[in-house]
Amino acid sequence: MSIPLITTSRWDVEDGHTLEGYLRTGGYEGLRRAIEMTPDQVHEEVKKASLLGRGGAGFPAGIKWGFLPPDVWPRYLVVNGDESEPGTYKDRLLIERDPHQLIEGCVITCFALGLSQCFLYVRGEMAHGQERVAAALNEAYDHGYVGKNILGTELSVDVVLHWGAGAYIVGEETALIESLEGNRGMPRLKPPFFPASIGLYGKPTIVNNVETLSNIPWIIEHGGDAFAKIGAEQSTGTRIFAVSGHVQNPGVFEVEFGTTTFRDLIMGEQYAGGIRDGNSIKAFIPGGASAPWFFEEHLDIPLEKTVVDNEGSMLGSGAIVVMDETTDIVKACHNVVRFFSRESCGKCTPCREGTNWLEKILDRILNGYGRPEDIDLLLDVCDNISPGISWPPKQTTICPLGPSAVSPIASALKRYRSEFDAYIGSNTVTPVSVDGGSS
C-alpha cells in the first residue's frame, strides 16, 4: 500500500537542507497554518494524531505536552538530538538532510506550549549535521521563521544550539538536561525530577526527540486525523527504522508504523533486502542495543509498540540489528555488554560496577577461562542490576542503562546457552589474571 513519506520526503532532494529547497517543497506551511490557529488547537491536533515519541520510550507526545504545570514560567523545550544508541542513525539523517523541518517542528511546538526558548542538543560527533542545522538556523533567523516576531506575528521563539561532548547517557533526558546546564551528564532520579515539572534550570521542560518533532509540521499541515489514519490504531503515522547488520541492503527506511512487520522490513526487496549471502537469520535486536533480542519466530510481528512490548522487547529507538547464522552469540553479547560498560556514567553502583563485571566475565569466557559456574554468576549479577531479569525491567539503578546490559545476556542465554557452554567446555581452572586485567 502506498503511504505518504512524512519525515523523509526531502532526503532525495539535493538542496532539501537549504531554506530555498525547503520552501520549494512545501516547507514552513505547517508553521503558517499553526499561527492561524490557537495554541490549544495545535496541541489538540498533535493529541489527535496520537504521535508516539520516537526517542525510545514511545510515550505519546501530545499527552507529554499536557504534563506541563499551568502558570509556571519560564518553561523550555529541549530537543534531544543526542542519538547514540548503537544501530540508530535516523536522527542524524533528519538533521543533515532536513534541518528546516526540525526547526519548523520546534517553532510550532513552542507556539503550542507558549514557550519562547528552545534548546537543540545535537550529538557532538555529528559534525556534518551540526554544520547543516547551524546553517539552516541562520537562514531561518534571517528570514523570520525563528527569532523575534516570527512571520510578522507576536510569536517569538529563540532556538539555541548546543553540541554534546560524546556521552551515550546524555541521550537520557534528565542526563541531557544536566549536560545542557553545564554539568556532568548524569541522570537525575524520577521522581522527583520529571522534566515536565522540574527540568532545565529547575523549570518545567518538555524533552522531545528529533524525529518526533520532525513529524509536527506534517501533522499541522495535514491535520492530526490524517496522521492517525496512517498506521495501526495505537502506533500511528510512519516511522523511520534503521536496519543494520547482516542484511543485503542496510539503511534507513520510513515505513507505515504498526502495520509493517519485521519480515517486511528485513526481507523486503524495497527495504533491507534479506539476509546477506543467502544465510539464515539467527537473531535480531528489534529496538536498539538496549532491547531484548528477537529470533526467527518473531519475524512476523508487526512494528507496533504494544505488540512488541507484549512479546518482551521494545521498538525503542527504531534500530534493528540483524545477526545471521555465522554470528558468534557470545562475542555479540560481549560486544553489546562492553558498550554499556564503557558508556555507564558511573553514578549508580550496580551499573558502574556490575556492567563492568559482566564484561569481564564474558571476556574471560571468550578467552577460554570460563568456568561452569560463570553462567549462574552472570545471571545473578544481572539479577542484582535488574531484579527478576524481567521485561519491562525492574532496576536498582536510576536510569535504564544498567538493565540494558542485562538484556543481551538474558536473551542470548535463553536461546543459545549451548554456545556459552561450548566456550567454557570442561575448563575448571580458576582464571586469575595477574597482568593487570583484561580491558
Binding site: R184, G346, T349, N384, P431
Partner: protein, 836 residues
C-alpha cells in the same frame, strides 16, 4: 481527625508491617531511622543534597501504585505509604550493592586509617557477603595522591559516593574536585594544576565513608579503637562544637560535631588542624623570668630563663605589694574560658582593686555594641524569608562555619542577603545585593538604605543599587551581622550604621568578635566599668562588694588608654593574658613604648609571642585541650570545653594562676574548680540565671543567654561628614586571611606554610591607571609614613580602594594607620618610576 494530623504535621505510614506516625515531608530514610529502622547508606548525608547514587538504601515503597524499588534517601514520606525494608528482594539488592562496591575496593583495611570506623567495613559485616565472587584483577590507580596541602586521595578505596564533591561544590562553593572519566573508570580528582585549595578541606576527610580521603596530620597516627574522645567546643568566636580525639595523652584529631544550632558538623581547616600547635615543641611548659641564669631573676637581664612557679610568683607578688592599684593593668583574656575570665576579673578588680582591665586589643567593637544590641542566634537568622544585612568582611576568611550557614540560608532557605562589605566576598554571588561602601562611608550608605531617603550616589554606591536593596527590608524580619570589617575604618561609621538599623522595627543583631571568647570576657567583667553578669561598677557593685572586697570606685582605662598610661610611666605592673599587643594592637609604636616602660610585665600565655618575649615574668597556661571550662560564643551560647589531655610541663589553667596570685596576696578567691565560679555567679548575674554547669554537656545547644538590656547601646548623635577620595589617593582597607602569621597557625606544622606574603591589592582599572607591572614594588604613603609592598590585581576590590591583608610576612600595614580618623587615604608611588 485530618485537622489534628495537619496541626501536628504527622502522617501515618507502614514500615515493615508496623503502622507508625512520622513527620510529614520528612525524607524516608530519616523517618525510618526515627522509628528505629536502620537503613544502610553511603551517599546520603542530611546536611547535603540527595543524589541517590550509591543505591545502598533501596527499599520497597508502595504509594498506592504497587510496590517499587526506590532509594529511601530520595523520597519524602507521604500519607499511607507502605515501606518494606526487610523483604527477601530488598536483602538481595542490598547484598548485591555491597558486593558491587567491594569488587574493586582494595580491602587494605589493616593499613587503612578508616579501618575500625568505616561504614563500608561495618555494613559489610552487617549485610555483605562473606566471600567475593570476583576473580578478576581489581581496578588500579596510583596510590594516594595529594589533592591539597593536607588531604590525600586514594582512588582505589573510593566508592564514588559524591560526598566530598558535593561538599566542595554545594556547601562551601569550592568546586575544585570533580568526577572525571566515566563508567568503571570514574574517579574523583582535581583539575590539573589546580589543587583542592579549600579552607574547608578537612571536612571531606570526615565525610568520606571509606578511607579514600585521609588528612596528613592524622595519617597512620592511630587506630580508631585506640582513640578516646570527648565532646568539647573549639574556642573561636562561633564556638564550633568539636569532638577531641586522643590516644596515649596525645590529641590526634579534631572532628566537627553536628550541632544543629552552630556548625552542623563542619569546621574550617585553621581550627581542625590547629591541635598540632598546642602540642608543638614551642609550647610554654615552664615559668620564665627575665634574668641572668637559671632561676636567677634579674630585671636587667637580656633573656628569659626558666624559673620555678614559686620564684616567678614571688616576683609578681613583690611587684604588686604596695603598688597603687591604679598603677596595675590587665590586657587580654579573650582566649580564656569563662571561668578563668571570672577568676582574673575577681583578682584584678576584687583583690588588687584596679579597673584597668580590658580584654580587647583595640580592634573589636566597643562593649556597648557587643552587649547592648538585641541579639539573634544563627538559626534565627537562617530562617526562610528573612533578610540578613552583612556589615562584615569576607566571612569565609574569618568566620568559616557562619559563612557555610549563611550560604546555605541564601541558596536553600530563601534568605535574602544584603552585603555591605569593603570588597567582594565569597557570599557576593549569593547575595540579593552586594554593595561595597567606601571605607568610612558605611554610616551614610546604611542611613539611605534604611530610611529609603536615597540620594543619587552615596559612599561610592549608586542610589539605584541602594533602592533595589531597600526593597528587601520591607515586610520581613531584618537581621544584621556586624563586625569591625576593616581596621582602616574607625568604629564610628559602623556605630552610625547600627544606629540607623535600630530604627527598623524588630531588627536584631549578631555582633561578631575577633577573638574566641570576647563575649565571655565581657560577661565576666573583663572590661573597664563592667562586673560579671553585665553589672556595672556604678550600678552593680553592691551585688559583688561582699566577695569582691577591694572594688575600685572609678571606671578604669581601656586597652588603648592602658597602653597610653603605660607609655607615660603610669603603669607599674601590666598583665598580658594571652594577648600580644605588639602584633595585634593597631598602633604598634604605642604598644612598643608601653611595654618598654612598664616596670613588671607579666605574660600568661601558651607561646613566646613578640610581647611575651618582652615580658619580665612568663607563666605557662593550659589550652582548651587541657583544662575544663566553658565558652561563650557570639550568640551568647555557653558550651562546655572539656579537658582531654594533661597540660605540658607545669602549665596551669588560667583560673588557677589567678587564684595562686590572690592567695600570695593574702586573699582566697574561693575557686578550686571551674564549677565554683558558677556557684558564686548564679545569684549575682542577671544573664546567667538558671545556668547549670553540671548539665552543660547534656544540652545539645548549650546554655543560651537570652537576657538583654543593662548595658545600653550608645547611638551616634552626630553624623560624620562624607569625605570623597581625591583622584590621586586610594582608600585603605585592611583585611584578614584565614591563614596568617597568627601564633596558632604558625605553630601548626600543617598550616604554617599556608600564609601568603603581604601584598597591596587593587582593581584592574586602578592598576592600569597607575601604569605599574603586576608584582612590582611600590611605595605606599599615608601622612608621611610609608611602606614598600608588591602590587597584585584583585578585582574583588572596588575602584579607588586598596586592600592589604594584615599580619602576613612582609610589609606591616599598621604603619599606615592614623589615629583619630574614620578612614585613611593612601598614595601609591611606583618606586621604579620615582627612581627614573
Amino acid at each position: 481527625m485530618t485537622e489534628i494530623q495537619q496541626d501536628s504535621g504527622l502522617i501515618t505510614v507502614t514500615i515493615d508491617g508496623q503502622e507508625v506516625k512520622v513527620k510529614s515531608g520528612e525524607v524516608l530514610i530519616d523517618a525510618c531511622e526515627e522509628v528505629g529502622v536502620d537503613i544502610p547508606r553511603f551517599c546520603y548525608h542530611k546536611r547535603m543534597s540527595q543524589v541517590g547514587m550509591c543505591r545502598m538504601c533501596i527499599v520497597e515503597v508502595d504509594t498506592g501504585r504497587g510496590p517499587s524499588l526506590q532509594p529511601s534517601c530520595m523520597m519524602d514520606v507521604s500519607e499511607g505509604m507502605i515501606i518494606d525494608t526487610q523483604s527477601e528482594e530488598i536483602k538481595k539488592v542490598q547484598d548485591g550493592v555491597l558486593e558491587f562496591l567491594l569488587l574493586n575496593h582494595p580491602l587494605d583495611c589493616p593499613v587503612c586509617d578508616k579501618g575500625g570506623e568505616c561504614p563500608l567495613q561495618d555494613q559489610t559485616m552487617a549485610y555483605g557477603p562473606g566471600e567475593t565472587r570476583f576473580v578478576e584483577e581489581k581496578r588500579h590507580f596510583e596510590k594516594p595522591i595529594p589533592i591539597s596541602d593536607n588531604v590525600y586521595l586514594d582512588r582505589e578505596r573510593c566508592i564514588l559516593c559524591d560526598r566530598c564533591t558535593r561538599f566542595a561544590d554545594e556547601v562551601v562553593g569550592d568546586p575544585l574536585i570533580q568526577f572525571i572519566d566515566r563508567g568503571n573508570s570514574t574517579q574523583v580528582n582535581t583539575f590539573p594544576e589546580d589543587p583542592f585549595a579549600s579552607y574547608f578541606s578537612g571536612n571531606i576527610v570526615q565525610l568520606c565513608p571509606v578511607g579514600a580521603l585521609t588528612a596528613k596530620p592524622y595519617r597512620f597516627k592511630a587506630r580508631p579503637w585506640d582513640l578516646e574522645e570527648i565532646e568539647s567546643t573549639y574556642p573561636n568566636p562561633l564556638g564550633d562544637r568539636i569532638v577531641v580525639q586522643s590516644s596515649r595523652d596525645q590529641v590526634l584529631r579534631l572532628q566537627g560535631l553536628d550541632s544543629e544550632e552552630v556548625n552542623w558538623g563542619w569546621l574550617c581547616d585553621k581550627d581542625r588542624f590547629s591541635f598540632e600547635a598546642f602540642q608543638s615543641e614551642y609550647r610554654l611548659d615552664n615559668p620564665l623570668v627575665r634574668g641572668g641564669g637559671l632561676n636567677k631573676a634579674d630585671k636587667s637581664g637580656s633573656g628569659l630563663v626558666a624559673a620555678s612557679w614559686a620564684g616567678a610568683m614571688s616576683i609578681i607578688t613583690e611587684s604588686l605589694n604596695g603598688t597603687d592599684p591604679d598603677r596595675v593593668g590587665v590586657i587580654g583574656g579573650s582566649r580564656l574560658t569563662n571561668e578563668s575570665q571570672y577568676a582574673w576579673a575577681k583578682l584584678a578588680k576584687g583583690v588588687i582593686g584596679t579597673d584597668h582591665v580590658s580584654a580587647d586589643l583595640g580592634d573589636e567593637l566597643p562593649p556597648h555594641v557587643l552587649l547592648g544590641l538585641p541579639r539573634a542566634t544563627i538559626s534565627e537568622i537562617c530562617s526562610p524569608g528573612n533578610t540578613v544585612v552583612l556589615l562584615t568582611p569576607d566571612l569565609k576568611e574569618e568566620y568559616g562555619t557562619l559563612f557555610i550557614r549563611l550560604r546555605d540560608a541564601a541558596k536553600n532557605l530563601g534568605v535574602n542577603i544584603i552585603e555591605l562589605s569593603p570588597v567582594k566576598t565569597a557570599l557576593s554571588s549569593d547575595a540579593v545585593a552586594s554593595l561595597h561602601p567606601l571605607p568610612g562611608e558605611i554610616g551614610n550608605v546604611v542611613e539611605a538604605l534604611v530610611t529609603g531617603n536615597i540620594p543619587r550616589e552615596v559612599g561610592g554606591i549608586s542610589g539605584e543599587e541602594i533602592s533595589q536593596a531597600h526593597t528587601y527590608l520591607k515586610d520581613t524580619n531584618v537581621f544584621v551581622v556586624v563586625s569591625r570589617s576593616s581596621m582602616g575604618q574607625s568604629e564610628v561609621p559602623i556605630i552610625e550604621a547600627l544606629t540607623s538599623f535600630q530604627e527598623l522595627e524588630n531588627c536584631r543583631f549578631l555582633p561578631l568578635v575577633r577573638r574566641a571568647n570576647t563575649m565571655g570576657a565581657l560577661d565576666m567583667g573583663m572590661a573597664p566599668g563592667l562586673l560579671p553578669g553585665r553589672n556595672t561598677l556604678s550600678s552593680g557593685s553592691s551585688a559583688f562588694s561582699d566577695i569582691w572586697t577591694n572594688l575600685p570606685a572609678e571606671t578604669g582605662a581601656n586597652t588603648k588608654q592602658i597602653l597610653q598610661k603605660a607609655s607615660d610611666g603610669e603603669i607599674d605592673v601590666l598583665f598580658l593574658l594571652g594577648a600580644d599587643p605588639l602584633t595585634d594592637f593597631p598602633n604598634k609604636a604605642l604598644a612598643e613604648a608601653a611595654l618598654q616602660k612598664v616596670e613588671t610585665l607579666v605574660a600568661v600565655d601558651l607561646f613566646v609571642t613578640p610581647s611575651v618575649y618582652e615580658s619580665d615574668v612568663v607563666l605557662p597556661a593550659t589550652s582548651f585541650l587541657e583544662a575544663d571550662g566553658s565558652h561563650t560564643n557570639v550568640e551568647g551560647r555557653i558550651t562546655p570545653i572539656r579537658q582531654k589531655i594533661t597540660p605540658p610541663g607545669t602549665a596551669r589553667p588560667d583560673w588557677m594562676i589567678a587564684a595562686e596570685i590572690a592567695y600570695r596576696l593574702g586573699h582566697d578567691l574561693e575557686i578550686t574548680a571551674p564549677e565554683d565560679v558558677w556557684e558564686e555567679i548564679s545569684s549575682r548575674s542577671s544573664v546567667h540565671g538558671d545556668l547549670n554547669y553540671g548539665r552543660l554537656d547534656d544540652e545539645p545547644g548549650g546554655y543560651l543567654i537570652t537576657a538583654t538590656g543593662r548595658i545600653p547601646f550608645v547611638p551616634v548623635e552626630e553624623r560624620i561628614e562624607t569625605r570623597p577620595v581625591d583622584s590621586y589617593a586610594m582608600r585603605l582597607i585592611l583585611g584578614r586571611r584565614m591563614f596568617d602569621k597568627g601564633t596558632i597557625t604558625q605553630m601548626s606544622s600543617s598550616l604554617s606554610h599556608l600564609a601568603e606574603q603581604s601584598q597591596l591589592r587593587i582593581n584592574q582599572y586602578d592598576f592600569e591607571r597607575l601604569g605599574i607591572k603586576e608584582g612590582a614594588q611600590v611605595e605606599v604613603t599615608s601622612e608621611g609614613r610609608n611602606i614598600s609592598i608588591s602590587v597584585k590585581v584583585d578585582n574583588r576590590v572596588p575602584r579607588s580602594s586598596a586592600l592589604i591583608y594584615r599580619n602576613l610576612d612582609g610589609a606591616d600595614p599598621r604603619e599606615l594607620l592614623i589615629e583619630g580618623t574614620h578612614s585613611i587615604d593612601i598614595r601609591i608611588d611606583p618606586t621604579s618610576k620615582a627612581r627614573s
